[in-house]
């Protein structure tokens, strides 16, 4: 009781409730807290992106397998056959890294061609075939096209994350990984 009375005398004289509440603004964590915070957030975002990818693939197969449609199994079989063929071709006619060496030019030229000269699909295919002349061109464009989807950031994010983990001793920082 005595202590309470002392407090009353210590802090009084023109102080309003609003001013008193403003003391709460001074309760702020230091820079080391934010370093830990960023690291934790980074890991949670990374986990979310990976989980989303996994559940996306899982959901796709679940939908196909549980679908009552008579076309479900043939579609799944076709996808698996196409996947198998793609794998075989990937290992057979030229190394895949080569396809990644000049992606930007190729997409730019394809995009430029489609936008500027030919709105039609025929012209697009012709341009596409003319632009490289190699058998692997379609595969290149398809893989690059898939990176340009709205979810592409996630893919790149995961790739960067894996790169930063393996390449730089597992240290993740917000600025680096994105």
């Amino acid at each position: 009781m005595k202590k309470r009375r002392e407090s009353r005398h210590e802090v009084s004289g023109g102080v309003t409730l609003e001013q008193l509440l403003r003391v709460k603004r001074a309760e702020r964590p230091g820079p080391e807290f934010w370093a830990d915070f960023d690291r934790g957030l980074q890991q949670k975002l990374f986990k979310t992106v990976v989980d989303r990818r996994r559940s996306g693939v899982r959901n796709f197969f679940r939908i196909v397998l549980h679908s009552r449609s008579t076309y479900a199994m043939p579609i799944l079989a076709a996808i698996m056959v196409a996947f198998g063929i793609a794998l075989n071709r990937g290992s057979g006619d030229g190394p895949l890294p080569q396809a990644v060496t000049a992606p930007v030019d190729m997409v730019v030229s394809v995009e430029a061609n489609t936008r500027a000269s030919s709105p039609g699909a025929e012209r697009f295919v012709v341009d596409l075939l003319n632009s490289g002349g190699e058998s692997g061109n379609f595969r290149k464009v398809m893989s690059l096209g898939s990176i340009n989807t709205p979810d592409a950031g996630s893919t790149r994010y995961v790739a960067d994350q894996l790169g930063s983990v393996t390449g730089r001793g597992g240290v993740l920082s917000m600025g680096d990984s994105f």
Binding site: E10, V11, S12, V23, K24, F33, F178
Partner: protein
């Protein structure tokens, strides 16, 4: 300190000032970039709002460790829901709503086991008038006096219901306007005003000994 006054300035009623409008536009541009797949833009948004989001959640939960976790969770929720953000409200109102909901649902879940842990007050940031009053009235240790004041203040805030506390936190500590708080809490402006009035009465009564 300026941060909070800016927040009040940008949010007060419908009269968003030029600076506030630029901020809103900047956010929308960043959101559009994230929606287009540019993750670095989300990094910018995180850095811009993390202190404020942490402060809201911390002052609602009164636990710094929980607040850190919940702030991260709020940002993850924002990230996963960003594709559904249509720009009908400003980004920070939307983000604040996520933060408040995250904090309130955490409080609901952990009603039976609540622990408090507080940040230490940064004396340099404490309001001048409080520090002056402490200096005038006593020659003792300011840190100890501020710590005691902080304890009483937090005790008083804890006596309020989560919804009343949230309104006080958003208005008095974060500096938001009534209309914006109403938008964040999915309620009417009148309800916000009445909750604020009631909460302040309670706080006045609890902190009577500290007020003139």
């Amino acid at each position: 300190m300026g941060e909070w006054s800016n927040a009040r300035a940008t949010s007060e009623a419908a009269g968003i000032g030029a600076a506030g409008q630029v901020q809103v536009d900047d956010d929308l541009a960043l959101v559009a970039r994230v929606q287009a797949g540019e993750m670095a833009a989300f990094d910018v948004l995180t850095r811009k709002y993390r202190e404020r989001i942490f402060s809201i959640i911390y002052n609602i939960t009164s636990n710094r460790e929980d607040a850190a976790d919940l702030t991260q969770d709020a940002f993850v929720r924002a990230f996963t829901s960003l594709s559904r953000f249509k720009g009908q409200s400003s980004f920070f109102t939307w983000l604040y709503r996520i933060a408040v909901n995250t904090a309130l649902s955490h409080l609901k879940k952990s009603r039976m086991r609540r622990f408090f842990s507080f940040e230490t007050i940064n004396e340099e940031m404490a309001p001048g008038e409080i520090v002056d009053t402490l200096s005038q009235k006593s020659a003792g240790d300011h840190s100890a006096q501020l710590a005691e004041l902080q304890e009483k203040l937090n005790e008083a805030l804890q006596k309020l219901s989560p919804k009343h506390r949230t309104v006080v936190v958003l208005f008095e500590i974060e500096g938001l306007g009534h209309q914006e708080i109403a938008e964040i809490m999915h309620t009417s402006e009148g309800t916000v005003r009445s909750r604020l009035h009631y909460a302040k009465q309670q706080l006045q009564a609890d902190l009577q000994s500290y007020l003139s």
